[in-house]
Amino acid sequence: MSENIKLMQGNEAIAEGAMIAGCDFFAGYPITPSSEVSEILAARLTKKGHIVIQMEDEIAALGAVLGAALGGAKALTATSGPGMSLKSEHIGYASMCEIPCVIVNVMRGGPSTGNPTLPSQADIMQAKWGTHGDHAIIAITPSSVNESFYETIRALNLAVKYRTPVLILTDEIIGHMREKVIIPEKDTLEIIDVKLPDVPPSEYKPYNYKSGKVTPLAPMGEGYRYHVTGLSHGETGFPSAKMEVIQDAQNWLIDKIYNNIKDIEKYEETMTEDADILIVAYGSVSRSAKAALSMARAAGIKAGLFRPITIWPFPEERIKELSKKIKKILVPEMNMGQIILEVQRAACNNIVKGLNIVSGEPITPDKIYLKIKEMM
């Protein structure tokens, strides 16, 4: 059977991926360069009888998504730049109340209004620390249109599985470029649906963290009454100021992600086996890095590429392992040096250098190649 291949834009691939993964609710607010996600879903998701709402602002867009998720929907929103800043409080709320949702951030230059039409990777640390308070987050950095499609499906799955906000961090390059997407048969995909708890309502504890397992979030209206609050809460959801409850609940928010890191992390390695220098690159920059790697290999330099697909939690164990034999690491990023901090931490005995361009211009292969030569 011939493959079903479609040419589409990165933002369109996110919309298509969301639909095939069973997303039935979208709320958004117009912002460049992510608006196409909401425009495409406004035209197509509604045709399936699902809901798309354009809200009055960025804050409300994520608020509606959280409400929808509590009502049992698989909900998604998309934004960029200042919109992500406005969403910060709700991201903390989603983490605290363990409400599954997916937030797409098509990264543009900042801070503030910054460069609405130019690419950037400067929201990597914001993704992890943007909201106040300790929590763990899952964030994914696709590097192609095809990957945007499949990673949106995975993001929705992870959100439901771990009851957490999941961020998809693309950038203006991936969001607006057009590439082929191989559309799969729906039954070949792993899709995690929202399900009811396996206990009767009388025994249901919505934040049953002592079990060490993520309890399904019962959709409201199914007979499972429970309390939802952004205040620190115990297993029933009711607020608590008991110190051990606060500590346990806080531990749980981190543990449920980091204890399952093998399931959540995802990366790709290219020619790392015999490498003398390792490039760590993600998103659109990893494409240039791959080309630079070929240039280096052709010139006799043994370069390798490590590409995180899940950027948070950061795959630090693997970097640590690789750093035992590869002593030089280059981290090109379209920011002033963000993920390099994680790489330096994981590979603390190595020479780790950054290549940082924030002019809005993509980092080209030759710039990365020159930096490789400089380091060798």
Partner: protein, 302 residues
């Protein structure tokens, strides 16, 4: 008369001058020029994120001959509140107009909270909402001021939809509900009326709200030469009533003389072209006519 025509030198002296990158036929820039012409040089302006902010200050050029601040999307009124308060506390407010500007999205949607706060505190600020009925800067997404049945990129028309399915928010009445001293609605189709209203705001202390209908060529999808005509038809059909209010009382309305059927207004614009395809569209036009008729009745426009 030829002698009254503006020369290039004259335009340089205007508060909002040449060099902006507005689309041909952009009526928002006409409104800005007309408003700032009245307010004069003793004006400090803020602009929310939007077309005006983008087109008027592209590095290394600026069309502003007055102090001008691009705030953010949601905070034009808040930043203007701060400017006004600082001028008051330093004793410099006398003779200076603080002008807060935003589009319809920046006013009626994301900026509504800041605007309500400014009204509530009654800051001595003239707030102007340039209403082109959608988020034109980001590619024509609907806003709270998008009219009924208009096609936008997030309220597309098609088999199951005639476009935006909710009525335009009555934003001037929201302003009036705050009991601010002056609320007015104007249109670029009637520049004298617009300037008269702006002039009036200069003698009123406290918050003033002015909403101006500014047709948008790419967003409304019409030929650039029709900007003024469409703005006039909006008023003459009753779809865009022009009036003035003090506190919660309407004190004057612009009479329209002879009512123009809404069809005349709609048919010039691509954003309504789906209404002219079949009988179902015809029924929708009747609904829009009803909105206009209700406005005529409600504001006493005839």
């Amino acid at each position: 008369m030829l002698t009254n025509m503006l020369t290039k030198e004259d335009t340089h002296k205007q508060m909002f001058t040449m060099g902006h990158s507005g689309c041909s036929g952009c009526s928002q820039t006409m409104a800005v020029r007309l408003i700032t012409e009245v307010l004069g040089k003793n004006t400090i302006a803020t602009s929310a994120t939007g077309c005006l902010e983008v087109i008027s200050a592209k590095f290394p050029e600026s069309s502003w001959n007055i102090p001008w601040i691009h705030s953010l999307f949601e905070n034009s009124a808040a930043v203007a509140s701060g400017i006004e308060a600082a001028l008051q506390i330093t004793g410099k407010k006398e003779g200076i107009t603080v002008l807060a500007q935003a589009g319809d999205g920046g006013t009626a949607d994301i900026g509504l909270q800041a605007l309500s706060g400014m009204f509530e505190r009654n800051h001595d600020v003239l707030y102007v909402c340039y209403d082109n009925g959608a988020y034109m800067n980001t590619g024509y997404q609907r806003s709270g001021l998008t009219p009924y049945d208009a096609f936008t990129s997030t309220s597309p028309s098609g088999k199951i939809s005639f476009g935006n399915n909710r009525p335009k928010k009555y934003m001037p009445e929201i302003a009036m509900a705050h009991r601010i001293p002056y609320t007015a609605v104007a249109s670029v189709g009637y520049p004298m009326d617009l300037q008269k209203k702006v002039k009036k705001t200069m003698s009123i202390k406290g918050s003033k709200y002015l909403q101006v209908d500014v047709p948008c060529t790419p967003g409304w999808k019409y030929e650039p030469r029709y900007s003024v005509k469409i703005a006039q038809l909006g008023v003459q059909s009753g779809l865009y009533p022009l009036f003035e209010a003090e506190y919660d009382k309407i004190i004057s309305v612009k009479k329209i003389g002879k009512k123009v059927p809404v069809e005349e207004y709609l048919k010039l614009q691509g954003r309504f072209k789906h209404l002219f395809k079949d009988e179902a569209g015809k029924a929708e036009i009747e609904k829009i006519q009803k909105i206009a008729d209700e406005n005529i009745e409600r504001y006493g426009l005839l």
